[in-house]
Assembly symmetry: C2
């Protein structure tokens, strides 16, 4: 039983919370790099990010990064190693479906270019949006999704449509044998096991806050990646 639980929380031998902590480390380390901090120690990172120092050392050892005694980690080496590990150097192209406020925000999100994601086309059901350009990305009719995919295949499909439309859109992506689906709708989507599915739900975050406000004696686990 113990073993099963461990496996469920691991992807390719790595604990999922470890993978989720890497973008946090990156974000912090880049600020330090801009401040021209040459070396940084695990306890220093721990203090700033409120993550246990031994956990940090353990996370870095997964990607074969070892600090020097009394000096710590070289900031740029650490940044490079994490970016390489996460695959940020490999550019992945994406289609986004659902040109609402969130869809537009994601099409304009500047961090994606640093993280190796390029949204190359947007799709919507609303004919008034056809031909529009958002951040130099063209918007097409959703019924042209497969045609565009066949011409320019992408790795990732991003879903920013209302909850009741999400599965339908996911099905179009699955029909194209897309590799990964990133679903921002409130509704989880179903896909075959060989397709990567990631759900990022805004409503889930709000639910936690509202529930904790309601009970009014919240137990906080600061900055824990739940």
């Amino acid at each position: 039983m113990k073993k099963t639980k461990e496996n469920k929380n691991r992807v390719s031998g790595l604990p999922v919370p470890t993978i989720r902590r890497f973008p946090l480390y990156l974000s912090f380390l880049k600020v330090e790099k801009n401040k021209e901090t040459k070396y940084i120690s695990a306890p220093e990172i721990a203090r700033e990010l409120h993550i246990d120092s031994t956990q940090i050392t353990k996370d870095f050892s997964y990607i074969n990064i070892k600090g020097k005694t009394k000096i710590g980690y070289e900031t740029t080496t650490l940044i490079d190693a994490i970016e390489a590990f996460l695959g940020y150097y490999v550019l992945r192209k994406a289609f986004l479906v659902g040109i609402g406020n969130l869809g537009i925000a994601l099409m304009k999100y500047i961090e994606f270019s640093n993280e190796g994601l390029e949204i190359i086309a947007g799709f919507d059901i609303d004919s008034e949006k056809m031909g529009m350009e958002i951040n130099d990305i063209k918007i097409f009719n959703i019924n042209k999704f497969k045609k565009h995919f066949d011409k320019t295949p992408v790795d990732i499909g991003i879903i920013t449509v209302p909850a009741d439309q999400a599965q339908k859109i996911a099905n179009s992506m699955i029909d194209c044998n897309i590799k990964a689906i990133w679903n921002f709708s409130a509704r989880p989507i179903s896909a075959p096991d060989n397709i990567i599915v990631e759900n990022t739900s805004i409503d889930s975050g709000l639910a936690m806050i509202k529930w904790k406000l309601k009970i009014d004696k919240p137990l906080i686990y600061k900055n824990r990646i739940l």
Copy 2:
């Protein structure tokens, strides 16, 4: 040791994954309500949401909802119970800081009104944005944050500024004794234990996708809320 782990995953006796699943149930149940589905069973919900049926029954039992044998749960009763449990009926007011693309998308996010969240003012450092109105919400200078808070206190502070500014903004909120901070920046923020902190990071979702694409033999745990 077992007990500590249990406590860390619970808020007020409830498992955190259970709380995070409730918005998913809600989203699904509302679609069913619109289809005039009067009763729904745990196995039916399980099939659609890819969550184990016994887990669903267990989640609902936490909020004292029991289904009828062979009939299941009454859709509207279940919706009402979950909304009441999550505190959606209690309207919480919020200030949002950071009028970029994501900030604007959140100010226009229509689901918030159903979820009992009202953003009543926006703040930014950019003087060109002062006096703007987004979805009838006025934008003010960030240095007027405390003045506005003293006049109209809010429960929730939403942070949508760049990572290197997040802690500074959080500190202004903490100085006002705000009850909860919802942080969308890539950088986790630090706050005293009596303040609720929720981090919703887009970058963390992308990191998971890029890593799984890199290893190219992903182990998928469909729709699991990690």
